[in-house]
Amino acid sequence: MSANRLGWHHLCVEIPDEWEVIEYGTRQKDGSLRLSDPGGETLQVHWSTLKRAPNMRNRLQTWLAKYSPGEDARFREVEAWSLCAVKGGPLVAVRHDAEVRVLLTLVFSAHARENVGDAAIAAILNSYTQNRGERRVWAAFGIDVMLPGAWELESVEALPAAQRMHFCRRDGERVSVHRYGMLPMVLAGDTDETFFARLKGRRSLVRVEGPWRSGLAFSYRRTQNRLMDVFRRTAIGLAWLWREPALGRLYVFDQNIRGQHEGAEPVGEVCCR
């Protein structure tokens, strides 16, 4: 079973290759993710911020009473995880991160248990790492990027053959990661330069800075209105565009940070998959 990384608020785990996020929440305080494989839903991830440490057994029993009443269930502890496995049904794993007061609940469906088995689920739980600190991983929808901890997820656009994740910092600066597929259709005859110019829109002045690894580096200046430029902030950014021919994908890393100098490198590290 080959594995992919799932990185989101509060967690980073290795999941089977075929599992993909089909529903997501972007709030850091609380939210959920739903993952599926071609056969159906496999995993739900819920996170919530609590004021005090919860009683894990009570949590699991409440969950059991609500969603699988009267079912035969087995409770156990595996490292920091408290588990409740319903016979022939789902497996629930909860853990509390006392430092940030976050409760994580992972619900593996009966379909997932049947398909990958409890050993693979144990491997997923063992692969868990806290996703905080100086570098954080954001990995879903085929995008896998490691960014400094100050960058928060702002929004996600997950379309077929076009995925974009946007991040912002408290000071208003922004970074975006784009991933495109079906290149003959998406590019529609454009070169990399004209595609990037099309991406930025006609109110942006785009300049090719030169080659960068297997692609190109750009700088751009976005103007809202030529007359009003004098009064408005003009967005100046750097971007990097490259192709992964083996994957048939095109990636763009776009960073809009004030004071960044020419020749700067991307603040994040993109892992192409």
């Binding site: 599926s36 071609p38 056969g39 077929p160 048939g248």
Partner: protein
Amino acid sequence: MNDESDFFRRQLASVPVRNATVEETPGNAGGVELTVPMAGAVWRGLLGTVLPISKERRIALDALGRETLEWCDGRTTFREMIDRHRRQHQLSFFESRALLLGFFKLMMQRGVLLMRVPPEDGKETP
């Protein structure tokens, strides 16, 4: 979650079938032009006596649409089409499924295709 798995299973086992009354003529740039006869609604017949209302609908598909439509031979399942599409365009399962679902939904709304869905578990075909 079990109901959802059954829904997924039935969706993937569905077979898109082409409307035999649809006429196909070659279009631009490898595409195809489809002519779909319109159902004979009463108001259409009445209005048609006084107004020049067309009795058919024309739909132009690009080369990609034509190719996907050609896969609909009445035997190939939705799952097989997804696999073929994802291999051809190096996409993930969910990307191909979303693209094909959108295309088939539109074609079904326009009367070009219909979907033969297998019966639910333990139920007979109506």
